[in-house]
Amino acid sequence: MNKREMLAKAFFAAFPHTTPILAGFLFLGIAYGMYMQSLGFSAIYPIVMSIIIFAGSMEFLAATLLLGAFNPFHALFLTLMVNARHLFYGISMLEKYKNTGKKKSYLIFGMCDESFSINYSANIPRNVDKGWFMTFVTLLNHCYWALGAAIGGIFGSLISFNTEGLEFVMTALFVVIFIEQWRKEKKHLIALIGLTASVISLILFGGSGFILPAMIAILAAVTAVRKPQEQKEAAA
């Protein structure tokens, strides 16, 4: 198989996995571009920011940063808080992103929620190059997002059909991936820890500040169950 065939194979294996993201990111990207336009920014802002930041919720927040007083330390602190969940993705992908060569930096750069969850959970066929598969998933998601932001930023004022509720496509995607993982695992303790810790800290801390407490609770809980879990595995 020559390189071109190998690339084509990886691309066509990756594309179907990204179709929910195509719908979701185009929509959210358009919403983001329109939002930026409504704040008075020219289309170049959402286009550049969607390409170089590539972290959805942070880009919406960055818009409010740009409108406020200049404070880079606050901007950095806010970014680290909002994006701290990426640390968990990185630790999870240490093995999968190994041996991906030059593509590795891009894979890590483009590791948004959606690219992470697809690259982590997809069953990549044996005859498909894993590194290129994951690169195409990341690259396609990146393109959808930037394309959406560009459309929204340039043509935002012309769009008038009722898209209310379309953002639910992302929730649906994560629910499906959660169920797929749930079925793959024999023990559900860890998945239940993730859900319970997140729900409890959402109730306690509210929508804007629950992620860090949830991450700390998850770390504490999975550490606490480490010994019994591993002993069970050794016995099995």
Binding site: L80, F88, I91, T171, G194
Partner: protein, 108 residues
């Protein structure tokens, strides 16, 4: 904010985002053996963090006011039910999303 200040602000956001994505890979490069505790975390965190992501999507739902999160609850029930029954990823996502859109546009 001047253009220079805007560029600095955006650069800081890019830097912070890149940092959160690269730190684990810089701390545990492939050449060195990753500590067993981190390997353990790498094997269990994905399962836990997917739960966190689902909850993250629902973070703006208010149970005590507005529509009480009923459209979200029904939407997720459709996605989960269809997926457990048919196991077709795109079907579950599309049906759940369309159900949700109809609920928020016409009923709630």
């Amino acid at each position: 904010m001047s253009l220079a200040q805007q560029i600095i602000t955006i650069s800081v956001v890019v830097f912070g985002t890149v940092l959160t994505r690269f730190i684990p890979f810089l701390l545990f490069p492939p050449g060195k053996t990753t500590p067993p505790y981190v390997q353990y975390l790498g094997s269990v965190l994905p399962l836990a963090v997917l739960g966190l992501l689902v909850v993250y999507c629902l973070k703006d739902v208010t149970l005590l006011a507005g529509n009480h999160g009923i459209p979200e609850f029904i939407g997720i029930a459709v996605v989960a039910g269809l997926h457990l029954w048919k196991g077709q990823m795109l079907l579950s996502i599309a049906a759940g999303t369309i159900t949700y859109m109809m609920l928020v546009q016409f009923i709630f």
